[in-house]
Amino acid sequence: MIREGIQEALKLLLRLDTSVIDAATRSLWVSIVAVVVASAVGIAIGLVLARKRFTGRSVVVVAFRVGMSVPTVLIGLLCFGLLSRRGALGEFELLYTTWAIVLGEFFLALPIVVTLTHGAITRLDRRVFETAITLGAGVIQRAMTYLREARLAIMLAVLTAFSRCFTELGIAMMVGGNISGRTRTLTTATALETARGEFASGVAMSLILLTIALLVTLSIALLSRATAEAES
C-alpha cells in the first residue's frame, strides 16, 4: 500500500499537481514569515536576557524554556481565543486566514529562537565581552559583535524554529481551518487526504514535507558540526 502510495505520489509531484504545489508553497511562506519575524524579535530578546542583569531574569529565561515544549494544539487554542470574534484581536478578522497561522507559528518559533540565542550568547568566551568592552565598543557595536561571534549557533536556532514550524499541524488546523486554496498547508492536507482515503496525495504531501525537513535537518547537522569546530 505504501509502495503504491509512493508511486502515485511521484506521479502527482512530477505533473506538478496544483493542490500539492499550492499547499507546499503556503507551508513554506507561512513558516518563513513566522520565523523571520520571530527571529527579529527573539534574537534581540535572547541577547538582552544573556547580557542584562535584572530582577526576574531567570524567571523569564525559564518561561521561554518551558515555552519550547508547549504543544502546538495549545498554542492553536490560545490563538483561536485571541483571534475569535470576541477575542482581543477579533476585530482584525484574521481567524481562518494564513495570517492566523503565521501568528500561531510566531508563538511557536519565538521561545525556540530566544532560548537557543540566549544559550549561544551565554556560552561565548568571556574574553569576547571583555575585549569588546575594553576596546570601547558601544551598546550597538557590542551587540553586533556578540551576534557575529555566535552566528553559527544563532543560525542553528533559526533553522530549528523553521523546522518546528514547517512540520507542525495543531496550529494550522485550529486557526487555519484547512480551507482548500486558502489555508491548506502540507501537514493539514496530509491529515485530510489520509482521512479521506486519498493515500497517494497524503504520501505526496508527506514526501515534500520530508524532503524539506530533511534538508533543514541536514543544514542543522552541518551547522552544529561547524559550531562545535568553531568553539573548540
Partner: protein, 214 residues
Amino acid sequence: MTPPAESACRPAITLSNLTVTKGEQIICQVTNATIARGSTVGMTGPNGSGKSTLLRVLAGLETDFAGSVRIDIPIADRVFVHQSPYLFSGTVLENVEYGLKARSVSKFARRELAERWLAHFGIGHLADRSARSLSGGEGRRTALARACVLEPELLLLDEPLADLDAAGADFVAQALKELSGSTILLSSPTPLSQNLTESTINLTGTSSHKRISE
C-alpha cells in the same frame, strides 16, 4: 577642572591595601603602590601571584575587591589585552580597526592608522588574512596592534611577550615606544628587559598571601 601641569604631576595609579579574594582564597594583595603618569612599568611575579587580577582591577573588569584603587584615567581611556588575546572573526585589519570604529574614526583614517600600527608590529602583510588563521605570535601582535592603535592613556598588557620569538619581542618593544604619552603596565612571569620598562614591580605570592613590593 585640574590644570594640566598639576594633572601631569599626579600619579596615574595609586593603590592602597588592595585585596582581591575568590571564595576563601586571597588571589591578589597590594599594600601600597603608585605608578607615575606616562611611565612604562613591568610587573613580574610567579604564576598565580595575582598579576592578571591586578591588571583586570585596573582595567575596570574586576570590581569585586577591598581597599583603595585610585586611577586618574577615565575607564574609556584604559585598554586591557588578555594573556591569551581573543581575536574577533574577520580579518586582521577589521580587528585592528575595531576600537577606532567604536570611537567613530572615519573609514579612511581608520585604515591609515590600522595599517601604520600593523607595520609597527611587523605584521602589515597579514592585514587581509583571517584573524582565526594566525599563529599564536601573529595573533598576539594583532591584539597588541588593536590596543595600541587607540593610543590609550592607560595600556594594560598581560604577558605580552608570551608566544613571541626574539624578533617579535623587538617589534613589541619598538612599538610600545611609539606610545610616548601612555602609562603602560605589562606583566611577565620572568624579569623584563630594561629596554622595555623603566621600572619593575614585583608581585610575590605564597599559597595564602600575595603582596606587592616596589
